[in-house]
Amino acid sequence: MRSVETKYFGTLPCAEESVFEFPLALPGFEDQRAFVLIETPDSAPLVFLQSLYRASLCFLAFPILVVDQNYQLAIAPEDLEALSLETGRQPALGAEVVVLALVSLHGGFVATANLMAPVVLNLKPRRGLQAIRRDRVYSHQHPVHGQAEAERGCVPC
């Protein structure tokens, strides 16, 4: 089994099939095309999107429904196609795709989540993409506190 050097957790074993390929990379990190998703009981529901080839690059993220339990997907048809998903409908959260909001820290642990451009992970095949919304329904700096604290119970990613 291969291993992956991580920013926060040292070196972890990593099955080949747990790697998500990002054929279009992430905007701003055009050379990073493979990530693994790390979840730990200590940090749940916060998860980590660790670059496979750059240990120092590890995004903090929330499953999007943790940030906004009424979040409505609006993935553009060309993004669905790039993910090998059906283009005529939005995919099922949790069953077909995991959707994450990347977290930014603004000093003093003030955090925001990017709801404008969620990271969509297709579970089969394991392929990921940052699906930038064309509408202006959600903010790229949605405040996380309060939202996350009010969240209870089980939600799918």
Binding site: L37, E39, T40, P41, L46, F59, S104, L105, I132, R152
Partner: protein, 93 residues
């Protein structure tokens, strides 16, 4: 923010920006306006939301210093200690 110049253009009509950039309205439908841009190769043309995403990713990619990690995770987590989902049966296909 600079003031905004507002122009009304119909399909087929153009706007010039400086000497080298030309923007043509190709079509307007209920889904939006289709525009064509003629500009020198060195001019970067980006959808604005892509630039916003690049900048936001750059900030998100800074993450935490490993020294701050445990503290920060505690503060970022919801106050309730109930697990929001079990790690990680979903991925064992």
């Amino acid at each position: 923010m600079r003031p905004v110049l507002v122009l009304r253009r119909r399909p087929g009509e153009c706007v010039l920006i400086g000497d080298e950039i030309e923007i043509e309205v190709l079509a307007v439908t209920h889904q939006g306006a289709k525009i064509g841009i003629r500009a020198p190769k060195a001019t970067i043309v980006l959808r604005k939301e892509l630039r916003i995403t690049q900048e936001q990713n750059a900030l998100a990619g800074q993450g935490l210093s490993t020294a701050d990690f445990r503290d920060a995770i505690k503060k970022l987590r919801p106050k309730t200690q109930e697990p929001t989902f079990l790690p990680d049966k979903r991925f064992e296909n």
